[in-house]
């Protein structure tokens, strides 16, 4: 089968000596900044067929989010490669980047444009986004006046309605109040089960993963520990975490 949507080869990402420094500090202490290298992702390779749904598990700090960020193009790999085969990609995580002074409506336009949609496409979908987000008249108020629930509702709605070929989901399956939670979960399921969409989910929720994913990748300290069938990997992972 040659119909891959994502191919990752020997991906390594390090956080190294990239701490910011201040002129004042370096004038006062002339000693060298000890630069620690943290390898967040080590030599990870995998490929994901089109339409596949993969979950990523691993304890906190094992490089899951870093991997997602890299696939979304926010980090560049220090070595290795990520090939998305020209697919559009969006990263869905709690609290998408909004500009706090702007209204919800403007933020929809701006976020949409950043995701690579044309102004016209966004205009067509703005109505649906507003409706889904249930924000009502708040949509024309600055985002800074939103409650955290409203904020994440809007964030979710934008990425859910403006669909991309590849969706990266970083723990988001519960947003807002009970009613919206259910609604967003259903929407999420609908989006994920679309045959043409490739999805990667980072989650700690066993049930979510069992219900949604075709296969699971287990990251441990940045290394790929296991990848394969959902049930097998989850069982191993459960055992390991005990």
């Amino acid at each position: 089968m040659n119909n891959y949507a994502i191919e990752v080869n020997n991906l390594c990402i390090t956080y190294k000596s990239l701490q910011s420094y201040s002129i004042k500090k370096s004038l006062l202490h002339l000693k060298k900044n000890e630069s620690k290298e943290i390898e967040a992702v080590k030599n990870v390779s995998f490929s994901l067929p089109k339409g596949n749904i993969m979950g990523i598990v691993g304890k906190n700090g094992s490089g899951k989010s870093t991997l997602l960020n890299a696939i979304a193009g926010i980090f560049s790999p220090d070595s290795g490669s990520i090939d998305l085969k020209g697919n559009s990609v969006s990263l869905l995580s709690i609290g998408v980047g909004f500009q706090r002074e702007l209204t919800g409506r403007e933020n929809i336009t701006l976020s949409g444009m950043l995701l690579g949609f044309s102004e016209q496409e966004i205009q067509e979908k703005t109505g649906a986004i507003i409706e889904f987000s249930e924000l009502g008249h708040f949509i024309d108020m600055p985002v800074r006046t939103y409650s955290s629930g409203m904020y994440s509702k809007l964030a979710f709605s934008i990425t859910a309605i403006l669909e991309t070929n590849i969706m990266l989901i970083d723990e988001i399956l519960s947003v807002g109040d009970a009613k919206f939670k259910k609604k967003s979960y259903n929407k999420m399921k609908e989006l994920i089960s679309d045959k043409d969409r490739t999805v990667i989910i980072v989650s700690h929720g066993k049930e979510t993963l069992e219900n949604l994913c075709d296969n699971i990748m287990w990251l441990h300290d940045g290394e790929l520990k296991m990848i394969g069938d959902t049930k097998e990997v989850l069982e191993e992972y459960e055992l390991f975490m005990k």
Binding site: A72, I74, F75, L91, V96, L102, E106, M113
Partner: protein, 260 residues
């Protein structure tokens, strides 16, 4: 280079829409806000005119307009510099969620501050009518002068954007340097006349801002032709700085997120 052109094409609309929303939200947050875009330079013009005319006995023709042109262009430049030092941190929400070429953020500021500058040049026009300044064809140099100013500001901003990410207290340093520049640029006096020869001449040509200010005044106030060769040279230098800055950003932009 081709990547730059493609990226600008791709994100051009975004930068315009983003700049529009920013201006709109500035207006929306208080009724008087857009008035401040005008009031601010007008008040400073009055202060400097008072000090220069009454205290230092300045004799420049059309002195208030002279100062106002200086302030309009200076405000644009200093806003660009101040904005870009912290631009990545201030846009953390965006930068850490999607990829965009980071200098697009500067482009947004270029439109925002450029718009404000044009409003204040509107006042320059009004003042010129009031003072009955004779207009010559030299006024057309307005366009290349503004373009050069924009290019130089953009180039400077790219470097500040880059180092602003890694150097925490860069903004303090920038504030001091800007203050120094403000005084030696001759916003409210004529550098070439007031500073002893030959330093005055040198300062008014080796400092791009002083030179652009001088050229602008020559072309729209005094009806003379600015130094075309030097203008072209500064435009070229601006382009080189911009090129280097953008190359630097492309090389490093993906690590910005790891630092902030």
């Amino acid at each position: 280079m081709t990547r730059f052109i493609n990226d600008v094409k791709k994100y051009f609309k975004y930068s315009i829409v983003s700049a529009k929303s920013e201006l709109k939200s500035e207006v929306a947050s208080s009724y008087l806000n857009w008035l401040w875009w005008i009031l601010d330079p007008v008040c400073f013009m009055l202060i400097y005119t008072f000090i220069s005319v009454f205290v230092f006995k300045a004799t420049e023709q059309y002195f208030p307009v002279f100062t106002f042109i200086g302030l309009s262009m200076w405000d644009f430049f200093s806003r660009m510099m101040n904005n870009s030092v912290k631009i990545i941190k201030n846009n953390k929400a965006i930068v850490s969620k999607v990829y965009l070429p980071k200098y697009i953020l500067i482009l947004v500021k270029l439109w925002v501050n450029g718009f404000k500058m044009f409003i204040s040049f509107g006042i320059v026009v009004l003042m010129m009518i009031v003072y009955q300044v004779p207009i010559t064809l030299n006024i057309l140099y307005f366009v290349p002068i503004i373009i050069t100013l924009a290019i130089i500001s953009f180039g400077g901003a790219t470097f500040l954007l880059h180092y602003g990410v890694f150097v925490q207290d860069l903004s303090n340093v920038v504030t001091i340097i800007l203050r120094l520049l403000f005084y030696i640029t001759g916003i409210f006096y004529d550098v070439a006349k007031r500073i002893q020869a030959p330093f005055g001449e040198i300062l008014s040509e080796a400092n791009p801002l002083a030179f652009l200010l001088k050229s602008m005044r020559e072309s729209i106030l005094y009806g003379t032709t600015p130094n075309r060769k030097l203008l072209l040279l500064w435009m070229f230098i601006g382009l080189v700085i911009t090129y280097l800055g953008i190359r630097k950003i492309y090389k490093n932009e993906n690590s910005y997120v790891k630092v902030i």
